[in-house]
Amino acid sequence: MVQTLNTLIETPSQTSGPYVHIGCIPSFAGIEGIYPEDLGKSPIAHGAKGEIITISGSIFDGTGWTMRDAMFESWQADATGRFAGQEGADPQVSGFCRFAAGKDTGQFTLRTIKPGAVKMRGGSVMAPHISLWIVARGINIGLNTRIYFDDEDNSADPLLARIEQRQRVDTLIAKKVADGQYRFDVRLQGAGETVFLDL
């Protein structure tokens, strides 16, 4: 026999189901009056420093169908690469946003500021990116990915460097379509499947 480990086991995930909006963004489900406003309506407040950008896109299932019931959460650093709560972070940047694929169009839009590069332990630097977490009916455990930008230098990013099939790097990079506007699509399966993360 051996000693007993004192660690606990993480609670298993379950799908968010189709009604995740009720709990997380109730006004999307038509439920008003319980909370003054949905949590995470915007990751930035008035006066946030940095370039204001919008990122729009759709999420596709393995058949190519545009999903209309996914919910997204984003988490990011401020324009100088600091996260909310860290010393020197921009107090106007919460960095957290919740948004949903449109009921009819399946289109989502995130309005935020372009984040700065983030320093890692050991001194290496991650290119500007936004962390994205995706839940929906049929997704049994939330999917993590990242949004990078095609007008930034991503060549030394430690996470992108780990992607063996180099053509897949592209799935994590938002494309500039106009000044301050980017396009980022998510593909759950098939050709162009987005790189999802376990970290």
Binding site: N6, Q14, T15, I31, P36, A136, G138, I141, R146
Partner: protein
Amino acid sequence: MTDTKVLMPRRREVHPVPHDPDYKTSVPRSPSLPLLSMESTPSEETGPRFGHGLLGALDNNLISNFTQGKALAIGERIRVHGRVLDETGRAVPHTLVEIWQANAGGRYRHIKDSYFAPLDPNFGGCGRTITDENGYYEFMTIRPGAYPWPNRANDWRPMHIHFSIFGHAFGQRLISQMYFEGDPLINHCPIAATIKDRSQLDTLVAPLDLQSSRPMDYLAYKFDIVLRGHRQTMFENKMEGM
């Protein structure tokens, strides 16, 4: 530099399988290629924090929050309570817990729910709270009804409450479901069955907690939640100070 701590790697084997033919929607919605693994970075080790100032007085009372106390929801009154811990066994204090559920008849207040069980005019179906300094939380609600759903020819969801938990790091983010002790539908549910280890599914089943119930008022169910922990070593603490 940051003062964040590395997250323990997620034990994927304790979680549901992403692709399960018995849960049909998971078939086209699960990645077919392997996930990209790496040690957590500050982007996963930090996360949003929400203060108690966020909360309204009735936010954790689903029996009365939809009418702001003017009328009570229909159904069996229950209290759901427990603690949020991490893998090291430490409490996770001051973290946001959100829930949503069907009404007593098994109907959600959502445009996509077409089940013919009636809506309860006094029930919205969502609530939220923030754990105290010991990781403790509680909700008052009504027992949700079981409901049918389109999957195989005759699938029913067991009674359940959806839970969303933040922790203190974006990499701890978790959505799960709480089931009720003794519900025979748990053993027939393809969503519950996406968890292949029965002992892990059992951790989602809240026991009846008679000692925490209130006579002539409500029954209680206890539901503890475990989030990913941070790796802590003396060695690394010293290194960070160097």
